[in-house]
Symmetry: C2
Subunit: 190 residues, 2 copies
């Protein structure tokens, strides 16, 4: 009996548990699995935020572009709304491209761009798009207020909805820019 129990103890010793690889810092006390799940969370969070930004920009684009009711109630008579439309289009292209890249990376596991270039491009792109979106929303607010003084109608309602959508897209991209900035710095300090 004693022999057999000794044998089993030897067997257990012979089969060692898979050693945890030493990664040399990263996350402060967490193992590599924890770091991976955190990276995955950041990646999915970033993709989700850009997806939301794409959705909001697309609605803003449709709302402005369809805001033609003849006479003074045409969006293209006001440079502010043309600017809002231009930035919404730009934001759709940018966030659409980013979502495409992100989904491709998640599904195939391969990156289309070099990691260093991709992270820098992400950060600069997110930050500049966020500034452009807040700028276009801010420039379109005063003219909408001025037209609204003469009474609310379908033109002012569509305009203010489009402004709100651009503002929501801005919030998403501002948060995404924080994540991209974190990724960029994490890459430099590893």
């Amino acid at each position: 009996m004693l022999d057999s129990s000794n044998n089993s103890a030897v067997k257990i010793e012979v089969q060692p548990e898979p050693a945890e690889p030493v990664t040399g810092g990263g996350g402060g006390g967490g193992g590599i699995l924890q770091q991976w799940s955190r990276e995955d969370l950041i990646k999915r969070g970033s993709l989700g935020l850009r997806g939301l930004a794409l959705f909001f920009s697309l609605i803003s684009l449709i709302l402005v572009a369809s805001n033609k009711h003849g006479g003074w109630a045409d969006f293209d008579k006001y440079p502010q709304y043309r600017y809002l439309l231009a930035i919404a289009i730009l934001s759709c292209f940018y966030t659409g491209g980013q979502v495409h890249l992100g989904v491709h990376e998640l599904s195939t596991g391969r990156k289309m761009l070099q990691p260093r270039i991709a992270v820098l491009f992400d950060f600069i792109g997110d930050q500049i798009m966020a500034y452009l979106l807040i700028s276009s929303a801010s420039s379109a607010i005063p003219i909408t207020d001025t037209i609204r003084e003469g009474g609310d109608n379908i033109f002012t309602d569509s305009s203010s909805s489009a402004i709100s959508m651009s503002f929501l897209a801005f919030i998403c991209l501002a948060l995404s820019a924080i994540i991209s900035g974190h990724k960029l710095s994490a890459q430099t300090c590893i």
Copy 2:
């Protein structure tokens, strides 16, 4: 000849260079001195950018606040200019406070706030002030253009100068926000 050359080779080996202290990551291969000088550069760069932002915000504030020429040419008749003024005042307070803290830290070497809180406060403050400045400048541009259609005068000139100054303050704070974001991430990953 061969002997003396051998001796000199030994001498070189005997006098070892001062060993580079191992810091455990930071800057990729650079020593602790290099890391210190980089940190110092970042600190001074951040302070310089905020000093510039304070200067530009102050000029913008003075230009808007003194832009009263009677009748329609009073800045406070237009909500856009009041917004521009409000943000310029806020930016003066914020950048003034930050410059004060920075100069105090450089001269005494002591920090007035806990490092972790200070870095977070820096990043959020810079980022929000940058968004507010670009927003106020963008909202004031269309009204200035509209007034300018009736001809240039001292009112429109002062307004456009104030807008330019707010825009320059935005550029400084946007760059400062990148530095603060880097400091925040560097702190988290150390």
